[in-house]
Amino acid sequence: MSLFLRLLFRNRLAGFGAVVLGVIVVLALLTPILPLHPPNETSTANRYLRPLSDGHLLGTDHLGRDLLSRLLWGTRLSLAVGFAAALIAGLAGAAIGVIAGYFGGRTDNVTMRGIDMLMAFPYILLALAIVAVLGPGLLNALIAVAVVNIPFFARNIRGITVGIAHREFIDAARLAGMGHTRILLTEVVPNVVPVVVIAMSTTIGWMILETAGLSFLGLGSQPPQADLGSMLGEARSALITAPHTSIVPGVMILLIVMSVNLLGDGIRDALDPRLRSGALARPMAATRVDRREVPAPQDEGLLRIDALETQFQVGKRTYKAVNKVSLDLKPGECLGLIGESGSGKSVTALSVMGLVASPPGVITGGAVRLEGQDLIGAPYELLRSLRGKRVAYIFQDPLSTLHPLYRIGDQLVEAIRVHEPVSHAEAHKRAIKLLEDVRIPNAAGRVGAFPHELSGGMRQRVGIAMALANDPDIIIADEPTTALDVTVQAQILALLDELRQRRGLAILFITHDFGVVGQLCDRVAVMYGGRIVETGPTQEVLEAPAHPYTRRLIACVPELGEGRRILAAIPGLPPAVDQLPEGCAFAPRCDKAQDACRHGEIELKGKNRQVRCLYPEVAP
């Protein structure tokens, strides 16, 4: 609760709303004991006095009645009516929703069809029809506004009740022999109440506005009784000669509704876990860079990642996803980057072109050089012109990584035309050629398909075709086969390997599967807890792993035809990268760990084969 209040008041606007609303409510409550003129006391000598007149702080209206007094009494009435309408709508709507949601079947069907019918009206029409029948009057306006809002509550509450009605504790209660009424009252209603209260608090401003509107039209409160809406309605005829009589009640309605809205937003935000964690932040066009020093250039290879550090800064926590990672990629070479989920391999790959979601991602150190040119901190326009042109990506799940609403041909055409000023027709021809290159049968027919019309394997071929669109030098493939089944996986790998040899592509291949690395990669780098723990030529690493983690990882790959053996899962979990242990990150899970492993910085040693271990399995 205190956390909730703190979150609420951290939102300054919500705090402001709470204070304003509090003051208004207190004033409305105190109105009967405040030293005010009687609200209906007329005085023809004092008609239309301006604000700040003697004895009339806000002036007087067309009958010489004190505006301040009428304002406070009107506010009192409007608040009470709005609150009552919200209460009635909330209770009636919740009752309908709970019953429909709990019993389901025909009850649900019939009720919700009725609710749908009510929602087919623009809301005020229904309110007008009800007032037409009951006759003008404040109570009738209240009833009309309440009835009109019942469907909103009924729908929301029904949705929540349906969710609850199928949960285990309801089944348990039913099995225990409890009757429907008892289950509803003891199990369902308590779970629904908070939702009803929140929905009411967010709609109460709306209800006040609606009843004020009906009163403004002359269909609500009747003279001499006046709420804020009818004050405004009466003042309308004197809008030009005495504008203050309109402005006073109008501003009050504005203040009430605005403070309720601000408070309602604040409550909703404070309760939304996504907002707390910052998960609703929008990723920017390129990852934020905040780096103190730039490593000296070493011209070696096509792509050289040097001591790269990428962090996620969430609140006060810092997750060191990539911790001083260095890799290099030569033209035409395939480098495998392997590790468990959360080891930082994907973040490393995305950092290359500044594609790490930011916020919360920040590149805090190191360099990524493409033929000597540093990409970290490069101007956005330079980065953009290289993305897809020199360095292209293939992502894991082609269903979520292709735009669901664009035809695949258009997505390919866009990839081409972004970097090359060719005509649409020319680009379209090339798109079909690309689809043929990745062995999509009937490419000319498929070019007009939407992603959801293709199978997973076909979609990933489209993803590959898109990466090839501009004949890049480097392809970064981020687990491109993980979401596919095994036979399709083999086809995709064969395709990638063939394309690499034919086009002289360099590939950085991210995976968690040593089997895949063995098929495709010349060299491999193993990542753990945000760092490289071992690198070397694939065959050598596979045959004689030096780091205990690599050995265990290789042992995890089940082999067919090897007979029965124990699947060697690695006990424990990968470390959380916001609180890495000192020394070797793998030490807590390592069966060979010594005391020395838990202290100080352990270097990555070796030249052709490197290992970050004090007690390697084989000498590097």
Partner: protein
């Protein structure tokens, strides 16, 4: 697509029937005797009975409903006793004015709301986002009738930029520029709340979409950021913005009642309020059914637009 439109049109029939039943039942709950209301309290019982028979009010309720429905389907909405002319004629005369007002306001709220929401999301927590958020909060909190009055005070009385009321000038008006001068203020006043709501929901929808994987794909392709936002992201966000526009159309139509009162716009809303105050029940009944039917029709258009925008919807 043609099949989908047909299916959607057919599914509107039960909704329309439901609307007529609801309106009929509400109107049937009116206390007192309509014949007495029409003839006045000095009418003789024979005259009341005769009028009741003439109006078909001596029939059982369900038969009255079907007679009423049958008449409406033939274009006979009854006769307004206050105006002494057919209800449908009066509605049709007034409806074009409402359509012009509400239609303009709807286009304004859709275009401005989506643009503001998109900018707001693209510059999340930046100055533009904060400024838009502030204006939006103000916009959704101000009663449209109060806003309209203040606009009259400022732009019609003080600055004399626009006329304060009516749809056309009484002398020498009637052309399009004249209509636009009269339309500007009411259309803006009517669109403000809806613009705020659309902006808010567009911002939310955009933020949701901008975190999706396909946005990262577009960026990885080297697509210009402006196109990522206004093309890829907005296109996907439209799928959740369009239904909101359908709901907002109902709010704009509702708000038109207030705005027509404030600006003396000769539309259906003002007609309904006058009819209620004069207890002209048939006019209220016909007006409500007519507008509700139009709203149902508009929602079909929204659904079709949605299906056209999102190929994943089975058509």
């Amino acid at each position: 697509m043609g099949g989908y439109i047909l299916k959607r049109l057919l599914s509107a029939i039960p909704v329309l029937l439901g609307i007529t039943i609801i309106v009929f039942l509400i109107m049937a709950m009116i206390p007192g005797d309509p014949a007495t209301a029409i003839l006045g309290s000095y009418a003789t019982p024979e005259n009341v009975a005769r009028l009741n028979r003439f109006l078909g009010l001596d029939e059982p309720l369900w038969r009255q409903y079907f007679i009423w429905l049958g008449n409406m389907l033939q274009g006979d909405f009854g006769r307004s006793f206050a105006l002494n002319r057919p209800v449908l004629d009066e509605i049709l005369d007034r409806f074009s004015a409402t359509l012009i007002l509400a239609g303009t306001a709807f286009v304004l709220c859709a275009v401005l709301g989506i643009i503001a929401g998109t900018i707001s999301a693209a510059r999340q927590y930046g100055f533009a986002d904060k400024a838009i958020t502030f204006v939006v909060i103000l916009g959704i909190s101000v009663p449209s009738f109060f806003l309209g009055m203040m606009m009259i005070l400022l732009f019609a009385v003080q600055l004399r930029w626009f006329p304060a009321s009516g749809m056309y000038s009484i002398w020498g008006g009637g052309d399009l520029p004249d209509l636009i001068r009269h339309l500007t203020m009411p259309a803006i006043a009517l669109s403000v709340v809806a613009t705020g709501v659309v902006a808010r929901l567009s911002r939310g929808a955009m933020l949701e979409v901008l975190r999706q994987d396909f946005i990262r794909t577009a960026r990885a392709k080297g697509v210009h950021e402006r196109r990522v936002i206004w093309g890829h992201a907005l296109r996907a966000a439209m799928v959740s913005i369009i239904p909101v526009l359908g709901i907002q159309a109902g709010f704009v139509l509702s708000g038109a009642v207030y705005i027509e009162m404030v600006f003396q716009w000769p539309g259906v809303g003002r007609m309904l309020v006058d009819a209620i105050l004069k207890r002209d029940i048939l006019l209220v009944q016909g007006g409500v059914v007519f507008i509700a039917a139009c709203y149902v029709g508009f929602n079909i258009v929204v659904d079709v637009a949605q299906a056209w925008l999102d190929p994943r919807i089975k058509t």
